[in-house]
């Protein structure tokens, strides 16, 4: 079969040309999809925020300084963002670790320091086992009404789902972290307004 001989120049040329073509094609795909991806992520986040804080009407993301101090009080749990819901409270976006990796979720805390709701944005738990944290109807509502300024007491009432211990434990860790953030950072600010 007639094939290109492998001279150095040809080798370099072949690879570089392929790379160029590939980079151009990928940038194009990226440009086409990136708005949609951002939009999807924003929608998912907004949906979760609305469900975790049903009374809030608008959310504004809090600034970087706040996030830095929040991360300090959250310990090992990842904190993605904190949203200020006007007078209705705060939505804390944490990503504690479940069985299948980090589970980004929203913990809603109202201005009195009560947990208003917990919503999981995405999770990658084992279908049928770990996913019960979402499908089990009594699991997520149990966090409602927890006292965020004293989560370490409230957590004693926690009820894990059998067969999904690690996943339920992950959600618990997230709520506890959000509680600590409230206790040490958010409650210091004035009733939900941006400092």
């Amino acid at each position: 079969m007639s094939r290109m001989a492998s001279t150095p120049a040809r080798m370099v040329l072949a690879v570089v040309v392929t790379c160029t073509a590939s980079a151009a094609a990928l940038t194009f795909t990226y440009e086409v999809t990136k708005d949609r991806i951002a939009e999807q992520e924003r929608l998912a986040r907004e949906k979760a925020l609305n469900e975790a804080l049903p009374e809030a009407t608008e959310f504004t993301e809090m600034d970087e300084n706040m996030l830095v101090s929040a991360r300090e009080s959250a310990g090992e749990t990842r904190v993605d963002a904190i949203f200020d819901a006007g007078g209705a409270g705060w939505g804390v976006l944490v990503a504690p670790r479940g069985y299948g990796g980090p589970m980004p979720m929203v913990v809603g805390v109202d201005s009195d320091g009560k947990v208003t709701g917990v919503m999981i944005i995405t999770q990658n738990e084992t279908p049928g086992l770990g996913t019960k944290i979402v499908t089990d109807e009594s699991f997520l509502p149990q966090f409602r009404g927890w006292d965020a300024s004293d989560v370490d007491t409230a957590v004693k009432a926690f009820d894990a789902i059998s067969g999904a211990t690690k996943s339920s434990g992950g959600v618990r860790k997230g709520v506890v972290a959000a509680g600590h953030i409230y206790e040490e950072v958010l409650s210091q600010t004035e009733g939900g307004s941006v400092p």
Partner: protein, 305 residues
């Protein structure tokens, strides 16, 4: 569409591509090993199973050795004649015939051999051999737990109803894996012999005839009838055991007919015979020649040669 991003992407990926390919191009110069192009060609002709039968660690090693003329072009027993012809073509030499070498079992005892004790451990020859030297009273015989059959990379060995390994001459490539695997293989229980028209002595015991007879009814009794009948002077009783000289043996089968304990057999007949027994269909399989007929046919053919 951000034009800038496209440029950045192209620059980034091309830079990596450039570094990578330049590195490879430089390496192919700098680290160029003078490889005879024939090595690549021979390598692609070889089966690529890296079985090691030729004594080289891999087919690549074998290809190098063939090109450097350290080993003959017919070295690849697994590949056989077709590979040898192809290799001969690449090397530019006359193709020559590969004598197909196959594994041959030198024991006919099986279930008939007497046992020293009842063994009920792991069903493996190596395991039984380590337990007081094995469960056979005969120190040369086949244990029949099939290590060779499991080890054979070409699935050429099956265990038959006599608890003996039967070698399929079509599939056997002579790679000697079974010899290495068998605890008594090196001692002479399994040995390599040419496949074409060979007879096999199904015994490798050098013990005194009386002791031997006590172990197993199938053993060679050193009666020398085969030696007398052989027209090619190819079989001799040496040290109380009939040994075939494969340089001379024509596979006429006259010794097979006269052997009193039926200890000598045609190499290929064994497989057919046990297939017949296992199927229970009687001697109607293609190529099966009953023992009596072997003698008659061969006496007819022998003068013609």
């Amino acid at each position: 569409m951000e034009f800038e991003l496209v440029i950045k992407a192209i620059v980034a990926l091309s830079a990596i591509g450039l570094v990578a390919s330049a590195m490879l191009a430089a390496a192919s110069r700098r680290f160029h090993v003078e490889v005879d192009p024939r090595v690549e060609n021979v390598l692609s002709a070889l089966p690529g199973a890296n079985c090691g039968a030729c004594g080289n660690p891999s087919c690549f090693g074998a290809a190098e050795a063939i090109v450097e003329e350290k080993i003959p072009i017919t070295s690849c027993t697994a590949g056989g004649q077709t590979v040898a012809d192809e290799v001969a073509g690449i090397m530019g030499v006359e193709p020559c015939a590969v004598a197909a070498i196959v594994s041959m079992r030198h024991c006919g005892g099986g279930r008939a051999a007497s046992k020293a004790y009842d063994y009920s451990g792991l069903l493996s020859c190596i395991a039984v051999a380590r337990l007081a030297g094995g469960d056979l009273t005969c120190p040369y015989g086949c244990f029949g737990y099939g290590d060779c059959a499991r080890a054979c990379p070409f699935s050429a060995i099956t265990m038959d109803d006599r608890n003996l390994p039967v070698v399929d001459l079509e599939k056997c490539t002579g790679c000697e894996v079974c010899v290495a695997e068998c605890p008594r293989g090196q001692a002479g229980l399994l040995a390599m012999a040419p496949a074409e028209g060979a007879v096999a002595v199904r015994c490798n015991s050098h013990d005194k005839a009386k002791a031997r007879k006590a172990y197993c009814p199938m053993c060679c009794i050193a009666c020398k009838k085969c030696e007398k009948v052989c027209p090619a002077d190819a079989i001799h009783v040496i040290d109380l055991l009939a040994i075939v000289d494969y340089e001379k043996c024509t596979g006429c089968g006259q010794c097979v007919a006269v052997c009193p304990p039926e200890c000598i057999d045609l190499a290929g007949r064994d497989a057919i015979e046990s297939a017949v027994r296992l199927d229970g269909r009687g001697p109607k399989v293609d190529g099966f020649v009953p023992r009596e007929v072997v003698a008659e046919e061969s006496t007819e053919e022998a003068p013609a040669e």
